[in-house]
């Protein structure tokens, strides 16, 4: 069933698509407000700013959005988002392709790239195990990781998953699966962050830091 009202501020209902407003400004605000970091108020401000100078701010943005939507695709090897597959990281001969860092999502991959701390390759798992969200091991990209290892050339797997109950559970399951491959598996250290004063750290981090102490 599809109903289109004559009032421009009335929404269009359709069985096949989410509710869209036929007023283009309201439609744009509603679409922007769905993005992380945006509410309706901030979306309205952004739209208003763009409408002040549509030629210089809106149309280039529209072009950039279209270009990105059409050009960006997930890398078949690691799951990163790039304009080509294999992505520029998997294709880079300067990087240590045998050193694979396993991350939860592309945001974590970008964070590690920003830090320039890892010169190997990545594997995006696509989430963590979550009983609440109904995500099981078969929903994660564990099998493609095992296939990469089976293909040979992997020297070490670094597990860089979130330090949460779900992240740690995923890490344990991953370590179990990787155990049979014979490839060395390491995990990121836990403890006091750079610039962190002890008196403001949470109890869990302090306990983990104490347990992971090392000879000075």
């Amino acid at each position: 069933m599809t109903t289109i009202a004559t009032n421009p501020l009335v929404t269009v209902k359709s069985n096949s698509a989410p509710m869209r407003n036929i007023d283009p400004v309201e439609d744009l605000i509603a679409l922007l407000a769905r993005l992380p970091g945006y509410g309706r108020r901030s979306a309205r401000r952004a739209v208003l700013r763009m409408l002040m100078d549509p030629q210089r701010q809106m149309l280039p943005l529209a072009d950039a959005l279209r270009n990105a939507a059409e050009a960006v695709l997930p890398c078949d090897v690691c799951g990163n988002l790039d304009t080509r597959s294999p992505c520029h990281i998997c294709d880079d001969p300067q990087r240590m392709q045998g050193l694979i860092c396993v991350v939860e999502g592309v945001a974590d991959l970008w964070a590690l790239e920003r830090a320039q701390a890892h010169r190997g390759s990545y594997h995006v798992l696509g989430g963590t195990l979550s009983a609440l969200a109904g995500i099981g091991p078969e929903d994660l990209r564990i099998q493609p990781l095992l296939a990469r290892i089976e293909a040979g050339g992997v020297e070490e797997i670094i597990i860089a998953l979130p330090v949460t109950v779900d992240g740690a559970t995923t890490a344990h399951v991953l370590m179990d699966r990787l155990g049979d491959t014979g490839v060395p598996v390491t995990r990121l250290a836990q403890g006091v962050p750079i610039g962190g004063a002890l008196d403001v750290l949470d109890d869990g981090t302090l306990a983990a830091a104490l347990r992971a102490r090392r000879p000075a």
Binding site: L129, A131, D202, G204
Partner: protein, 242 residues
Amino acid sequence: MSTEWQAPAIILSARPFGEGGAVVNVITRDHGRHAGLVRGGASRAQSALWQAGNMIEARWIARLADQLGSLSGEMVHPAAALAMEEPLGLALLTSLCAVAEGALPEREPHPVLFEGMIRVVSRLVHGAGQAMADYIRWEAMLLAELGFGIDLASCAVTGAVEDLVFVSPKSGRAVSAAAATGWEARLLPLPAFLRAADDDGAVAAWADGLRLTGHFLERDVFHGHHRAMPEARVRLVERVMA
């Protein structure tokens, strides 16, 4: 019903809500399983606190008693962080929280179960081996609290109180070794630690215990609500068997 309380609590789950908030389920002694909205609960500053298994001092406040209300808390014991390095300990802790969340009705106090959970979480500090038997006893206690208790007092067939080594999967009553002859394959093994509070058991006995309580949890508690056994509980069994 009160619109404000403060009490020691164990976090059962934290579900992201909006950008930085979380809907958190906790269990307390006098208020049972209780949900509340934590503003900023999924933020970087607070996410370490709102991990399942942590013991906190919780404060809940609402304008009306039947509202979701607002929850805040302070860390008492970072059980989640302490268990994260030990696969079996973490599996036990997540299973404890998932089973409590899935099986217990909301806002119904179960002081015995809360105290049982505190005992399991406290013993987990010394390793999963110290807490596993207590955890399985807690599951048996949960069945009893919900009205599906297993009866281990005497043999269902002969009335004997000695040498009880099986449980009937139908009635949930103990069966002695003598009465079970020829029927062993159809009965559930009864581990000795379920009848002795000071026995911590070992891996084979834990597996038997989890199979025993798991059978009745699945049949009487979760299937009754048209739900599957929580994933975390399934993973715990897999880890014990591994």
